[in-house]
């Protein structure tokens, strides 16, 4: 069964994010009114085959552990695991198209 999950990672509030600040300035310059803040982060689009028959609960725990231990640096980053409630057409497109 093909699983798809997105892990978003971004810098914690207290951490200096000069890229986010630069983007904020650019957005303001390019006409977006009243920009209050921009945080720049990254997203991991993961597609995997689960043959083990793990429960959704177990899979979620596994992904959260990997997100904490590998995909993010908890000292400076927060993360969020997002399981699509409905297949996200754009994500599927992206994964099935050219890498």
């Amino acid at each position: 069964m093909t699983e798809r999950v997105t892990v978003q990672v971004w810098l914690k509030e207290a951490v200096l994010d000069p890229q986010g600040q630069a983007v904020q300035k650019a957005l303001t310059r390019e006409g977006l009114p009243g920009v209050k803040s921009v945080r720049q982060g990254k997203a991991f689009f993961i597609e995997f085959e689960d043959e083990s028959g793990k429960s959704q609960e177990d899979l979620n725990q596994l992904i959260e552990k990997l997100a904490r231990d590998l995909l993010s640096n908890p000292v400076i980053e927060d993360f969020q695991v997002i399981w699509p409630s409905e297949p996200d057409a754009r994500v599927i497109d992206y994964l099935e198209g050219d890498a």
Partner: protein
């Protein structure tokens, strides 16, 4: 010194160790055997292309696993630039290094001040000593929680600070930190590039390498 795919200043660290009278031993990232060396240097560079996060993938390699174990038992470890990033990723040192505040790579002859010398890597320096050593990095901004920073400052674990100008926005101008025990050190500046006035701004960096050699010789 450890070579990861993408390490750059491993050769330069080896040269500095030789110059100080030590014997440089090359360690490969994939090999958990650290060949009974007396100290380990994690050199500068772009290990694994800085993919995921600088130092993140390197911190998972077999050799680093061994280094973590041995460091707990007192093995002296020096992390330079990318090496510092790896030590923070793996938790041997507190805090983390992020993108330079100015968003640009900076290569500069940097003025520094030694704040603490409680380490076998620092015995040939004195507190208050001013050094000129090159910094060259794009992700050298040291960040840590305020509480943890106070703790560090209080216990003398900040051993090196930027003076005159902060090249990357590091909190409290922190250029280098050590662990409580003093055997593990991390710093963004490159002492291996300040060992010969022909190719560097001073010989101020040699002290790290002569200190460890002297400390090891003294320890027998």
């Amino acid at each position: 010194m450890v070579t990861f795919p993408g390490s750059l200043d491993d050769v330069d660290a080896a040269r500095a160790v030789s110059k100080a009278g030590g014997e440089p031993v090359s360690l490969w990232h994939d090999d958990a055997d650290i060949k009974a060396v007396d100290a380990v240097i994690l050199p500068g560079g772009f290990s694994f292309g800085d993919y995921l996060r600088a130092g993140a993938i390197a911190s998972l390699s077999p050799v680093v696993e061994t280094v973590v174990k041995e460091a707990a038992a007192g093995l002296p470890v020096l992390g330079i630039c990318n090496g510092f990033q790896i030590l923070c990723e793996v938790g041997l040192l507190p805090g983390a290094l992020t993108r330079n505040a100015g968003l640009r790579f900076v290569c500069r002859d940097q003025r520094l001040r030694v704040e603490d010398v409680n380490s076998p890597w620092l015995r040939n320096y004195y507190v208050g000593q001013e050094l000129v050593i090159p910094v060259k990095n794009g992700e050298g901004c040291y960040q840590i929680s305020k509480d943890e920073l106070s703790e560090l400052e209080r216990s003398g674990m900040v051993f090196l600070r930027y003076i005159e100008e902060n090249p990357n926005g590091s909190l409290a101008d922190v250029a280098g930190v050590r662990n409580a025990q003093g055997n593990v050190l991390g710093l963004m500046p490159h002492p291996e590039h300040a060992i010969d006035v022909l190719t560097g701004p001073s010989t101020d960096g040699l002290g790290f390498f002569s200190s460890i050699v002297d400390s090891l010789v003294k320890a027998g």
